[in-house]
């Protein structure tokens, strides 16, 4: 699995059982809020951390950044889907 290369197979065209509903948007937003709080905590800790603790904290920062990026991408996907379905 890769982060963003184009898909040649027909997987993207496969129908899914149910589209993203409001519950999913709430779940994404909840996780993003939590990830953002964790990111801030890790960033604060990094500022004052001794050099030997910094690699671990940088890895932690990267992990929460990843969750934020995935969530942001999902919200953009949901938003684009709603625009496609909106009446002209």
């Amino acid at each position: 699995m890769s982060a963003g290369s184009p898909l040649r197979s027909g997987l993207r065209a496969m129908p899914v059982a149910e589209g993203p509903g409001p519950e999913e948007v709430v779940a994404v937003a909840t996780d993003l809020a939590q990830a953002a709080a964790q990111l801030v905590a890790a960033a604060d800790a990094l500022v004052t951390a001794p050099p030997e603790a910094r690699p671990t904290l940088r890895a932690t920062l990267y992990r929460w950044q990843t969750v934020l990026a995935l969530g942001a991408r999902r919200l953009a996907q949901v938003g684009a889907g709603r625009q496609d379905r909106a009446p002209a």
């Binding site: 699995m1 290369s5 898909l7 997987l11 999913e24 671990t56 992990r63 999902r74």
Partner: protein, 206 residues
Amino acid sequence: MSPRLDRERRATEPREPGQPLLRADLHGGQVARWARAGRLHPASREVIAALDPAVGQLLYWSCRDLDASVELDDVVQTLALAQLEAQAAAEPSLRLGAQRRLRRWVWRVRWGRGRQRRLAWDDARMQSLAGPDSGLAAAEEIVWDDVVRLLGWRDGVLVWLWAVEEWSLSELSAWRAVSKQHIWRRVRRGLARLRAALAADHGPRR
């Protein structure tokens, strides 16, 4: 803390690139065990020690799905070459770049052996799974958008963080405040749905 727990803790701590690869990094000293069993040339051990730690971890995982007759020295050389190629290509993630190259090599080995040794080997199906460059095209081309579209956010993010970002079940469990068993059930369910979608995409098995 017991020596074993201490080794495990050190093995999971991230390190700066260029820091020496600890013996414990390779999952409980697997390299040392291979060397003691006479399956690794001393030069291969030096190559392993020179690898980027994140790339070095791929050795253990790549050898898990190869049978015992495979020459580990060949795998080490291929892994080192994969790292050099990924570095030369300035891949955004060195580990993922090296992993993709190594997996293609493993795939070709498995394909060749399967064709030679297995009775019910379906060459046409293998061809459909592999891309024109003999890579695992279908699996490699699955991106986050596909995973989350098929599985939804809750399962999709667990599968992605576990399979791609290498979060442990403990870390996912702590994040979601549920048991590891619960997380593992959801990850397995998500992987099964992905496999089913891939199988459907490539038609019924003959």
